[in-house]
């Protein structure tokens, strides 16, 4: 708790570590600045939210699809489970490095595969237009299995009776999915998505390793901006106020999560 309180205190001051002047109390001026005076921060917030919605949205759809596919007895279930875990535990720095090599515009395997499929090559993390999408794709690669595993656990706990009743009433598979599976699975899905969103808001390693927020700040999320303010410009007071703002957003998402979890029936 102490570091958090200290960050809150720091956020009320103007302090550059490199300078000889001691911290100066400036009240809420830093917050005034991030809220109204700093377009770069505002853009970073929008980017962070966009990245989160994009990545977690794709993960939810893909993860649910995979869970529905794999929710049966089949040879190789254990292998599937093992494979699903690997991207989540692999060192993010190393994964970022591998994707940097795969994303290379002229020599990378990603563009080779894209042209084999018949599309024109992208510039991935090397262009300000696509960098954020390319980074979100790495997040999707890493974390879709998590949503799948949570959804699979949810599916396994569903009762059988409604399906039998629906079958007798002549409902199609699609209708059964839409009217039975989805509503029953909703709490598990909401929890999984919120949980992922909380972590996606905090994404740092992958972005820092792969683009450092570039090119031309096009992938500069709040985390990256905050880090650079603190440890490249040593503007610790200002960076602290950003940390508090980020914390507030994440805490808001967590409150919703805790509330949903409490009302969830399992």
């Amino acid at each position: 708790m102490y570091p958090i309180a200290y960050t809150g205190w720091m956020s009320l001051q103007e302090w550059f570590v490199s300078s000889v002047t001691p911290p100066r109390f400036i009240g809420l001026a830093n917050y005034w600045k991030i809220l109204f005076g700093d377009p770069r921060f505002r853009e970073a917030v929008a980017r962070t939210l966009y990245f989160t919605v994009l990545a977690v949205g794709a993960e939810a759809i893909l993860g649910l699809a995979m869970a529905l596919l794999f929710n049966r007895e089949f040879w190789g279930r254990g292998v599937l489970r093992t494979l699903a875990i690997l991207p989540m535990v692999a060192t993010p720095t190393a994964i970022g490095l591998v994707f940097v090599m795969m994303y290379h515009p002229t020599l990378g395997v990603a563009n080779y595969l894209v042209t084999v499929v018949g599309l024109s090559p992208f510039r991935w993390t090397y262009s300000s237009q696509t960098a954020l999408y390319a980074l979100a794709l790495v997040d999707v690669w890493q974390w879709t299995p998590l949503i799948m595993l949570i959804a699979l656990a949810g599916l396994a706990s569903l009762p059988r009776e409604p399906y039998e009743a629906a079958h007798i009433d002549g409902a199609s598979t699609l209708e059964a999915f839409w009217h039975i599976t989805l509503p029953l699975l909703r709490p598990a899905l909401v929890v999984a998505v919120l949980f992922r969103a909380i972590d996606a808001l905090k994404t740092f390693d992958i972005i820092f390793v792969m683009t450092q927020g570039g090119p031309a700040n096009s992938s500069e999320t709040v985390n990256i901006l905050l880090f650079n303010q603190a440890f490249s410009y040593f503007n610790l007071g200002y960076a602290s106020s950003m940390a508090v703002a980020l914390f507030a957003v994440v805490l808001g998402a967590s409150m919703i999560l805790i509330k949903v979890r409490r009302t969830a029936s399992w």
Partner: protein, 277 residues
């Protein structure tokens, strides 16, 4: 009739495995690509179009990693920090988890959840100031203490569910026979949750091993851990992909192998807070 049914089932099964393969292909491919790149000689690593299956095997990448960089030192640093963090985490976390499980301290459990939710970057600025004042930047101590903030909540959270499974009757019997509370914890509860301890130790080790954010600020020349070393290599090596892939493989492979041992508990640790046990 029977034959046609069998044929249809065959098509359905083949379709299922085809689809399953399609979904899992990206997962496998990225690791496959990392490992094959690390084994390719420089010319083939950056060849275009890339070769997927046929390439000549070379250990040049691995040799470079160890000769051009003090990679053994980085590995040692990572090991010391991860082991220290895990040992300290268990020493503090096991009694904490036991107490939360035994006396149902729900509020404390919630506090641990909050510690898991707070963005790590929010800790970083105060820590940086704190450890600089103590002249502890670039020491194992600073790294171990900061990595604990990730490891400890996971250790406690996963261990709570293990301790809850220890039958209370057994502990009460111990108390009646004159055991102290600590004696019950040490002699009765701990031996029963040994598998859980192994699993959480692995989890905490993996999280410390992978940590980038805290180490990039608090590790220096002497204590640089593997993720930081690999990150620094990117700018030096540029397009020397065999070497880069070798470094990436060396740092990832141990984690993947260790993860296989504890895979069931890894899911618990990763989803901790999202799913009730």
């Amino acid at each position: 009739m029977v034959r046609r049914g069998g044929a249809r089932r065959f098509v359905a099964t083949a379709g299922f495995y085809g689809l399953a393969g399609l979904f899992m292909l990206p997962t496998v491919f990225v690791f496959y690509w990392m490992i094959t790149l690390s084994l390719k000689p420089q010319i083939e690593a950056t060849a275009y179009p890339p070769s997927f299956v046929r390439f000549s095997v070379s250990m040049a990448g691995y040799r470079e990693v160890f000769t051009k960089y003090p990679f053994l030192l980085y590995t040692w640093n990572s090991l010391v920090v991860a082991a220290g963090c895990t040992a300290l985490g268990l020493a503090v976390g096991l009694p904490a988890a036991y107490s939360i499980a035994r006396w149902r301290q729900q509020r404390l459990a919630l506090a641990i959840l909050v510690a898991r939710i707070i963005p790590g970057i929010a800790y970083l600025i105060p820590w940086y100031i704190f450890f600089r004042r103590l002249r502890m930047v670039d020491t194992y101590g600073a790294l171990i203490l900061t990595h604990l903030i990730v490891g400890l909540p996971i250790i406690i959270w996963v261990m709570i569910s293990f301790f809850e499974d220890v039958p209370a009757d057994l502990e009460d019997a111990g108390l009646i026979d004159g055991c102290s509370y600590f004696g019950v914890f040490w002699r009765i509860a701990l031996p029963l949750v040994k598998p859980g301890i192994v699993a959480t130790a692995i989890l905490s080790f993996v999280f410390s091993w992978n940590n980038f954010l805290f180490s990039v600020i608090l590790a220096g020349r002497e204590t640089r851990t593997l993720p930081i070393a690999v990150y620094n290599m990117i700018s030096y090596e540029e397009i020397n992909w065999g070497t880069l892939a070798a470094a990436a493989t060396l740092i990832t492979l141990p984690v993947l192998l260790v993860a296989l041992v504890a895979q069931r508990h890894i899911v618990t640790g990763l989803t901790f807070g999202a799913v009730k046990q």
